[in-house]
């Protein structure tokens, strides 16, 4: 049954880029109207978010008054024009469930950390595991390695797929891993084999995170690294082996999962508060 339409914007402020999604929620039907990701580079995150927000509304033909909720996630506390903020785990779980309704877990691989999240069929978070403060399981690490090897991030995936004899490196420490890579280069290991080795090393960490979070069947990779076909292949290889094989999936909008989840929860929250007869300004006070 169609309910009143709720339009909401989700803004996911990451450490390297900002993702924005516009969601139309009609109760049982939820639609992604718009999605975009933009690198922050050396600008103020709030300025980038403001610019993206204005151009998104213009492109879709909406005004701010049409929106029931502006939801932020990630480091979205910098966005002062938000209605509310949702924590990253909550939004990635919802975004993953929207992108793939069969998934019972997701792994958000961002620039600085990775986080495996287990959820139920309402996208309620049941448990999570995340990498510690070490950077070796992150997108930033992969970006550094690509710079050392003189390849672009876009080339990493396809090069990794060409590997025939991957060379594993340290999965514990980014500094050791980078030293490993320098040694490999001096030993004449091919770029493809180095990259595949790094992908396998990262995949090993992610697989352990997913297992310890309790993932059982299907896990969707969210965050920007889902577009790295080499990493995805390595993760499928590692997670598919062993006693409890896990199916790893990605989606063309995986990078937007946080923003999508934030937008969906924003619309959900707006509807919930409306039903309570309260206002979004400290909804509990009206109960």
């Amino acid at each position: 049954m169609k309910e009143k339409e709720m339009l909401a914007v989700g803004i996911d402020v990451g450490s390297a880029s900002i993702k924005l999604a516009i969601i139309r929620d009609q109760g049982s039907e939820i639609e992604l109207l718009y999605g975009r990701s933009e690198r922050i580079r050396r600008r103020e995150a709030e300025e980038v978010a403001e610019g993206m927000f204005a151009s998104a509304l213009e492109e879709v033909g909406l005004s701010k008054d049409d929106l029931a909720y502006i939801a932020t996630t990630g480091e979205g506390e910098v966005v002062q024009f938000r209605t509310g903020h949702f924590y990253g785990m909550t939004t990635h779980a919802r975004g993953a469930r929207f992108l793939d309704s069969e998934t019972d877990a997701c792994i958000d691989i961002g620039a600085l950390h990775a986080r495996a999240i287990l959820m139920d069929n309402r996208a309620k978070v049941l448990g999570y595991r995340m990498t510690s403060q070490c950077a070796s399981g992150s997108g930033q690490f992969l970006e550094n390695i690509s710079r050392y090897l003189g390849v672009t991030m876009a080339e990493i995936g396809s090069l990794s797929l060409e590997a025939d004899e991957p060379e594993q490196c340290s999965s514990i420490c980014a500094v050791l891993a980078e030293t490993d890579v320098i040694n490999m280069v001096s030993r004449g290991i091919s770029t493809a084999n180095i990259l595949k080795g790094i992908h396998l090393s990262m995949a090993g960490r992610y697989s352990k995170l997913l297992n310890s979070a309790g993932a059982k069947k299907v896990a969707l990779v969210t965050g920007g690294l889902a577009a790295d076909v080499g990493l995805m292949a390595a993760l499928r290889e590692v997670a598919g082996a062993g006693k409890n094989p896990l199916e790893i999936r990605s989606h063309e909008h995986s990078a937007l999962a946080g923003a999508i989840g934030a937008g969906i929860w924003g619309a959900f929250r707006a509807r919930k508060v409306e039903k309570l007869g309260a206002t979004l300004a400290g909804a509990g006070a009206g109960k």
Binding site: H85, T90, W265, G282
Partner: protein, 395 residues
Amino acid sequence: MSTTLEATKDTSPLAKLISDCEELIRDTSLSTVQAWKERTGGIAIGFMPTYIPRELLHAQGVLPVGIMGAGDIEIIRGDAYYQSYICHIPRSTIELGLNGSLDCLDGMVFPAICDVIRNLSGMWKMMFPTKLVHYLDVPQDFHAEMGGEFYRHDLEALSAKLVEAGAKPLTSEALAESIRLYNENGRRVRALYDLRRREPWRVPTAELYVILRAGLILPVEEHSIMLDRFLELVQAEDDRTPMDQARVILTGSFCEQPPLGLIKTLERAGCYIVDDDFVQVSRWFKHDISEEGDPLGALVDAFLTDAFASPTRYIDEDEKGRELVERVQSSGAEGVLFCAPSFCDPALLDQPMETAAVTRAGIPWTAFKFSEDTGQFQVIREQAGTFADSIKLWS
């Protein structure tokens, strides 16, 4: 835009006021107190958190100075006095005493908070034999003829010690006037708490907290003016607009205080703190102390009959946690953050009874611990953020 304390580059009067208060709190050498002593010739007495009758000290010309630990200063000697399973505030207080930061104080009053603070008062006597040291042994019997008599006797003993330390003798007229001044101050504090309950986006807790902390150092007359100014400024802040945040009560931080960064983290993580137990001395009583009749009797009576439920007060036939549940309901809070210092016996011994009470009432809660020198808030941020999400989405 000055929506949070982060507006450090903001030169607005509100930002300046908050920044001044933060500076006052950070100044562990108490230069403001030293300046007051030089200006007035009076004596200054320190006191540990929870409650002491500041009115009595004020009436004798004494500046009561709240010592709420030392934040994140490096502890060198303080650790030698306490085992590793003791909370942080006694070791940081000893550090302040031994490094000379508290030299301008003419004495210390230690209220009955817990055994650790009781022991600290004994240690203080040995470490600073020439200074006034008083353990304020407040009654845990709240009948006038028993606990009332006991407490009155204790206040008279404290008053006599203050005279020995150089304070004026106590007079009923002076005490009545001091009660009037502290009542005025208390009314202002309660008004700010009421405003925050109604419009928490207008009065961020991180700001309210530093304003209250400033009141532990400044004379009450100056602090009341500061409270008026703060109220006026926050009411004029049109840029502060409401956000969809979970309304929570924070409890457990009545003695050792959390770092300011932790309070800011909780607010940024999506929580509107609509009630708390920070700086309890400024809100120990629910109403004004009576300004009629015998003022010392009024002080005693207020302590017996009008104080907030606190883990440091014995509850006889009442139920632990009942008042917390009532505060949640009356403030429109949607959950409780149990935010206690590590190894705080009173807070952590009460916590199972309080969590049971809020669980029975169907109120969501989460619990975490801190120390006044905690510097990493990421884990607490995750916990508070997901707690706020769960309230907004699933409650």
